[in-house]
């Protein structure tokens, strides 16, 4: 049984202009000890889906799903009191902005110790010992001196290490990391990613990495789900995803990376992600897809099987060619 089970999760927000569906029928299963990545651009619903798992969405959001469970426990109908026993203990989250995620009024030691006191009921001396151990594990030099430090006295990288130490405090089974390195410099990013992978290897904590950076995905994740406009459009293990993407969106994203460029001009994707008011009736990627036909415009695409990377597409790609397409070479000249 997977550690985290998400089946057909949808999230609707009440807005002044009517309901907006931010997450649309997304499924994901994460096994114990696995590193899964959720990739997407802004507005792809990747963060909102994971906030729904954590129960951190505001009142204006309505969460519905066929199944939403963690470690065998149903998270949908769970009472808030029960949820708080899980969140922060077995299920932890790291956010993008380490500087704004820490409470500026309390010391680092106090903030890490809070989870230890609430969830594990440790004594003051035990909390201190465990906090030192955690700060040491995340690579903070001279942890004894850092216990009394306030967040403003730390650099961005150090703050993110503290956030990771907090997430690790109760030895969680799963950590959800939402763009954990986006606000950091590259040399610090490398240190933090190494740290997350090392902690998984040592403690067996599963990791869901939410990111938009294909480089981070390639170097860190084992399995990847690609999101577009609230839907999961493809899911594959990392090597096959980069070798043979099955959804035209994934293929176009990878082709647009400067490091994969063959010429001076990059093959770009025309247009922008659809918003709340210009959602196409059929496939959401249809207006930007170079293989789109009338069928893509009118009819929502089916979910393909595992062999086609669960692509949400009428004509999933195999080795760059659309399968079942009336004119497989249609998109060629536009791409050239």
């Amino acid at each position: 049984m997977p550690l985290l089970e998400i089946e057909e999760l949808s999230v609707d927000f009440k807005t002044s202009a009517g309901p907006f569906r931010a997450v649309d029928g997304v499924s994901l299963a994460v096994e114990a000890g696995e590193i899964a990545a959720v990739v997407g651009e802004s507005g792809s619903g990747k963060s909102v889906a994971m906030l729904a798992v954590m129960g951190l969405l505001p009142w204006s959001a309505t969460v519905s799903a066929k199944r939403l469970a963690f470690d065998g426990k149903d998270l949908l109908g769970i009472a808030p009191r029960q949820r708080r026993r899980i969140v922060g203990r077995d299920l932890a989250m790291i956010f993008q902005e380490p500087m704004t995620s820490l409470n500026p009024c309390f010391t680092v030691g106090w903030q890490i110790g809070e989870a230890l006191a609430v969830h594990l009921g440790l004594s003051k001396a035990e909390r201190r010992a465990r906090t030192l151990e955690l700060l040491h594990a995340v690579g903070i030099p001279a942890p004894e001196r850092r216990l009394a430090a306030f967040p403003h006295q730390l650099s961005g990288g150090m703050s993110q290490r503290v956030m990771i130490a907090m997430a690790l405090a109760c030895r969680p089974k799963l950590i959800i990391a939402d763009e954990p390195t986006t606000a950091l410099d590259v040399t610090i990013q490398a240190q933090i990613l190494d740290l997350l992978v090392r902690l998984r290897d040592e403690t067996g904590t599963a990791l869901v990495l939410i990111t938009h950076d294909m480089g981070v995905v390639a170097e860190t994740a084992e399995r990847v789900a690609v999101h577009y406009a609230g839907q999961k459009v493809e899911e594959q293990d990392v090597r096959s995803l980069f070798r043979d993407p099955h959804h035209p969106y994934t293929a176009a994203l990878l082709a647009a990376l400067p490091e994969r460029a063959t010429g001076r001009m990059l093959p770009s994707i025309a247009g922008t992600v659809p918003g709340a008011f210009d959602r196409p009736p059929g496939c959401l990627f249809e207006p930007r897809c170079r293989f789109a036909t009338a069928r893509c415009r009118d009819k929502a695409p089916p979910r393909q099987g595992a062999i086609a990377g669960f692509a949400l597409c009428h004509y999933p790609l195999a080795e760059g060619r659309p399968v079942g397409h009336p004119d497989p070479d249609a998109g060629r000249e536009r791409a050239a």
């Binding site: 410099d185 040399t187 190494d194 170097e219 400067p258 001076r264």
Partner: protein
């Protein structure tokens, strides 16, 4: 290699004196020191480095937003320091800048047609309103925006479109030098390629010289002709693009390259991770500023600062490399 550089910086430096606290000694930050480079028409010089390395200070000096505290800045052969007001105004029109955040750099209460016409209204007051509107419409077409959008406000555009607007505005005075301060860092992946393509096309069309500031090495590798790597306010390596990526000399350049994630899961990972963090620019370490984090540091590195020296086509500041 072209004949005459459009812009020449010789030993450019910027120091900031911080407000003094009671009884504390005066604190000075050397944000940039001894930066020398040239910009040529149709070519791109990339500036790479992490936060606090001085790349944005460099941009402010090159765009003449701040006068340098040391060194010389020559634009089109004219020294900026001694220039009179009229010359300075002309030179400012030659150098324009595009900022990182297209959400913060456009006035939300100004239509984009007005935003584009404004540089002309200020710098070419002899033009008529109709001429300015026509010029704005023409530039919008050039950067791939529909001219009918001229009466819309910035919030009605996506991030990629806003960055097109910012680029269009920077080009209104037909500058010859464009400073691009992290121009695609705030953009989504699928839009990033569009904006990079636009920048390449505009450079070819107008023969622009780009000073391309970025922390993203895969973008720099695609865009730049030459690269300048900065660490804590100083240039540590300066080289043609192929040289820098094929044979980086400075240990910091090597560390940057190895830390940058590459979108290829099959690539064997060369782990040469840097330890530690950037030291405070207020109290840089003696000797080479990189020595506390450097895997190759020797005793000399902790005492003497290496100067930038030629090694073939590359210039590098390192005792060991």
């Amino acid at each position: 290699m072209s004949a005459r550089p459009l812009l020449e910086a010789v030993g450019l430096a910027q120091r900031y004196v911080l407000p003094r606290r009671l009884f504390a000694p005066e604190a000075v930050v050397h944000a940039v020191a001894e930066a020398s480079f040239t910009l040529e028409p149709g070519r791109t010089l990339a500036v790479v480095g992490e936060s606090g390395c001085g790349k944005s200070t460099l941009a402010r000096m090159v765009t003449m937003i701040e006068p340098p505290s040391g060194g010389r800045l020559l634009i089109d052969g004219a020294d900026v320091a001694g220039a009179d007001a009229a010359t300075l105004k002309r030179l400012r029109g030659e150098v324009q800048i595009v900022f990182q955040d297209p959400y913060g750099s456009l006035n939300p209460r100004q239509t984009i047609g007005d935003a584009l016409a404004e540089p002309l209204a200020i710098n070419r007051p002899q033009t008529s309103r109709a001429e300015r509107r026509e010029a704005a419409a023409e530039m919008m077409r050039r950067v791939g925006l529909r001219p009918e959008y001229a009466d819309r406000y910035p919030h009605m555009f996506s991030g990629g479109q806003r960055q097109r607007i910012a680029i269009a505005r920077a080009l209104m005075l037909r500058p010859r030098i464009l400073v691009l301060d992290e121009p695609v860092s705030a953009l989504d992946l699928s839009v990033r390629a569009q904006v990079l393509n636009l920048l390449i096309a505009l450079q070819e069309e107008f023969g622009l010289a780009y000073l391309f500031i970025s922390h993203d090495l895969s973008v720099v590798r695609h865009m730049a002709d030459a690269v300048m790597v900065m660490y804590l306010g100083r240039v540590v390596e300066q080289a043609p693009r192929e040289k820098l990526f094929a044979a980086p000399l400075h240990p910091y350049t090597r560390a940057l390259l190895s830390a940058t994630p590459v979108a290829d899961p099959e690539r064997p990972r060369a782990r040469a991770r840097l330890k530690g963090e950037l030291p405070s620019p207020l109290a840089p370490p003696p000797g080479c500023a990189f020595n506390p984090r450097c895997p190759l540091a020797i005793a000399k590195c902790r005492v003497d600062r290496p100067a930038l020296e030629w090694r073939g086509e590359t210039r590098v500041a390192c005792w060991v490399a």
